[in-house]
Symmetry: C2
DNA sequence: AATTTCAGCGTACAGTTGTACGCTAAAATA
DNA sequence: TATTTTAGCGTACAACTGTACGCTGAAATT
């Protein structure tokens, strides 16, 4: 197992994934990517692409998984910061904005494919976001005075706002982002306040 | 003015717009549309397309305007319903869900191009949504005990949640939509409650 | 009635796309 | 050592794309 051969294969597979991520940008979405261009950037012949993925769709789903993984890792790190005494809301927002800044193409993929033309893509992104919501809901349920159902709705609303703010931030400069983040934090406070009122135990 | 000629031109122009909207669907986004296919469905030769639009981009921006118009008209109608004694939150949500149901392709356009690959498109959609937010903010400021800044943030949060719920609803059956709508209404209540607490006068 | 304007057409072309097919050389296996 | 497996390549092709160019006939203008 794991001979020279399999190792090299894994390497070019990763090269394909990275080439595809590289070609995502503000002006280029996944559905505009061409198999040939991706193969070219990865340094292999177009037809060799098929040794790794059935088609572009399969590549895309792999990329969604990878982006979801990045996001989850980042949030795990956020939870550590919170545990050592940070504010939940502020730390989470900061962490998310960091994700957008350092992995903007991964975020763009999730953002766009959430409402894209492939049902499989939409489902995959929805799954990643649901992870996120469930984790937050669990936290809210155990750490704040809020019953289970309301904790879920609260988490859902919060994640939606954060995600959308991230989308807006993509087009903004530092100052606008600052204002956006400030508004976002107020909005999250509204939700926390309201949820604790209606769902308080 | 308005001779037979100009009238016919206007007619095929509209045919192009409608053909393009027709070709939008869950599986087909604007950027996948081809000039040739649109022209074909509108019943004109590919090259005649240029008599009406400089390129597909210009067509798309026109479509965004049209979708925005539809949405604004619908919301004006909602305001009448509210004036004659309906609940603000519930009436607005119902009206929006109606928009998604009866003009799903127009909604899909706004939804997707909001995070699409053309900055001009994103700006156009953002403008339509901002209209929406400002109107709601004005209502909240005058009709509820909430200062201007908080009214704006409240409106922004609410529109974000409604818009996103609409996006989710596109893939759902009647029952799921019912549950979604119920959650959405709770979430809007959270925001109203929180905003009035922090921004109450 | 003579002239101008212009929506729509057909032809043509160069560029790009996905992918079928068969080959090669090197790694893996027997 | 002999055989099998397979990642990657090159060639080839049909389908489709946007759009340049020049023509036509009818509406509009003079």
């Amino acid at each position: 197992m794991s001979g020279v051969r399999a190792q090299q294969k894994q390497k070019t597979r990763q090269a394909l994934i990275e080439a595809a991520f590289n070609q995502l940008s503000a002006e280029h979405s996944f559905s505009n990517l061409s198999l040939r261009e991706v193969a070219r950037e990865a340094g292999i012949a177009p037809t060799s692409f098929y040794r790794h993925f059935k088609d572009m769709n399969e590549l895309g789903l792999t990329m969604v998984d990878e982006a979801g993984l990045t996001l989850r890792q980042l949030m795990r790190q956020a939870r550590r910061r919170i545990a050592s005494g940070g504010s939940v809301i502020i730390t989470s927002v900061e962490t998310f904005m960091e994700f957008i800044d350092t992995s903007s193409n991964q975020f763009r993929l999730l953002l766009r494919e959430r409402s894209g033309t492939s049902k499989a893509f939409r489902a995959a992104v929805a799954r990643e976001i649901k992870h996120f919501i469930l984790e937050l809901a669990h936290y809210l349920e155990t750490e704040t005075p809020c019953d289970k159902h309301h904790a879920y709705m609260q988490a859902e609303a919060m994640v939606t706002l954060v995600f959308n703010a991230g989308a807006e931030a993509l087009d903004q400069d530092a100052q606008q982002r600052g204002e956006l983040t400030e508004r976002l934090i107020w909005q999250l406070r509204y939700i926390a306040r309201g949820a604790n009122h209606y769902g308080g135990q």
